[in-house]
Symmetry: C2
């Protein structure tokens, strides 16, 4: 299995990206293609280049995080994002990971890979682990600000397939995010989507509506929403996650004074675990579902550990053969 990694995108590129990609190649037994500026990759990672599982593909342009996505994709054919997506299209790699410009990554994927038959719009599938148990998938996490009921229905089919094939949940509980748990509650979009899903029979296990406060309770495995609401929810969780991280550091500083002993130290470990659950950087990334290829978006703030996890997620996505599953349905 060959996984391409964009070494030019993300706040800690190229150093942390390369480090994480190499760790991923070693730990998960996959081949990694580093896509970016050769000279910079050599500078950062010369010692890894003798590793037979690591290779480089040159891409000397960079799409910055604040560039207009579609314009950048058109104007920069030698950018790491466009080169990486092309490798995927040509079948030279099995998956592509980037921590760069989200819009450009998904725009390039949409334009160049095309959309799976039967899918009107690709969706971003975010993987949340706020419950402490099995992760919760949330889609669309931001690709489509305005949606139709048929889009949400297809998001449910794709999320269901991903939960089964990649996460390994036999019969995922699929729910609609709404402003009330009752069947008749919701915006016009949610009410009409609810009716479509109720009528879907055994295509997936639709458990009805859930509310925002149900998200941390693990009431559903796959949570379906439009890309506007999905983005706002993810960002809100992220904002609070950062607050908890800051709080954790405060606590650690206190603990390090030596005034905390015994059972309190146990609690320190618990704080750490809990705070990490709210730190989405740890889970490696989100998948773009519905395009003809395995595309993983890592967080812009990803460090090596997150990129290593993204390599693992990419590997699981390739093994799950999610693209073929969605197409068949």
């Amino acid at each position: 299995m060959i996984i391409a990694v964009d070494t030019s995108g993300g706040d800690f590129a190229p150093g942390e990206i390369i480090k994480g990609a190499v760790q991923g190649a070693n730990e998960y037994d996959v081949d990694v293609v580093l896509v970016g500026k050769k000279s910079l990759i050599h500078l950062s990672a010369a010692r890894h280049l003798k590793n037979p599982h690591i290779s480089i593909v040159e891409a000397d342009q960079v799409i910055e995080s604040d560039e207009s996505p579609m314009r950048a994709v058109m104007a920069k054919p030698e950018s790491s994002i466009v080169v990486g997506i092309n490798l995927l299209k040509e079948g030279k790699v099995d998956a592509f990971i980037s921590a760069g410009n989200t819009g450009a990554l998904f725009g390039a994927a949409f334009l160049k890979l095309g959309v799976v038959e039967g899918v009107e719009r690709p969706a971003i599938c975010a993987i949340l682990d706020i419950t402490g148990g099995t992760p919760v998938l949330l889609l669309d996490a931001g690709a489509n600000a305005d949606c139709k009921p048929s889009y949400l229905f297809q998001f449910a089919e794709m999320g269901n397939a991903f939960a089964q094939k990649v996460i390994g949940i036999a019969e995922p509980r699929v729910a609609l995010l709404s402003n009330g748990s009752e069947d008749i509650k919701g915006s016009k979009l949610v009410i009409e989507s609810h009716e479509l899903m109720r009528a879907a029979g055994n295509k997936f296990n639709f458990i009805g509506n859930i509310e925002g406060n149900d998200l941390p309770k693990g009431k559903a495995d796959v949570v379906i929403t439009d890309g506007f609401t999905g983005n706002v929810v993810i960002k809100t969780l992220e904002g609070l996650g950062e607050a908890v991280q800051n709080f954790k550091h405060l606590w650690r500083a206190v603990a390090s004074t030596g005034h905390v002993h015994g059972t309190a130290l146990m609690s320190s470990v618990e704080i750490d675990t809990w705070a990490r659950k709210l730190d989405f950087r740890e889970y490696g990334g989100a998948c773009l579902l519905g395009v003809k290829g395995n595309v993983i978006k890592a967080h812009g703030r990803s460090r090596a550990a997150a990129i290593k996890n993204a390599v693992n997620l990419a590997r699981q996505t390739v093994e799950g053969n999610i693209y073929a599953t969605i197409q068949k349905e």
Copy 2:
């Protein structure tokens, strides 16, 4: 000033509601009318009934939290919610507080009080204090699942007036909640609302779009969104707030073992403050803006302290004369 309090609504009615209402009357120097079943109020609060600032209005029907709101409002004219709203309509009280069925409270207010001129739809104005500083107003927090740009514009006008007159912010920063901070980012609704607000000139201080992760950062004083997204965001924050509360209790249990000393105890106080900021019960309630009367919704899980705070919020809302301000604009 006379404030009516529904003693039949909420998880801890009537005991905690009456206790909080009496505390509020004493602390904020207002008269309180308890609206509910006289016999139950006498049982719970006989000793307070000699207080000259406390009186009772009989309402022997109860709208349960799971009843269909509009049907219940029609079918139960003697319910505490309908009786309380009628007191407000007849000018016998200055504000009405209920921790009962949200839909029924707002439905009754909408039907019986009517809507302020120039306002198409009333909105729920939630008061969040996650920043540790000045509270952030979020509206619409759930009254209107489907909105038009003109609604959002009016929400901005009402929120601006509330922030000025009730919260006391001279020039509130008003922002639109979106899936990107750039002006052109958003759903169709947000993009069109953005254009309306940009064109509003000096009606209010529109600072543009903010994202979900900006909410805890205090980037804006008034955050405008549709009632579907608003509800999902509030519930998501609430769900995480509960998780933090549970965590706080765990920490306290550890601290009580006596293994935590010195600076760690200081930190315990900080944890408490921080966790409380995520506990929306403390802030008393949300206001329904745009109806002809001061209506406060307290959280269904409100205990005495929250009801006392709701009395204070009602008092400030009456003093701010927010209803007259909105109407004038």
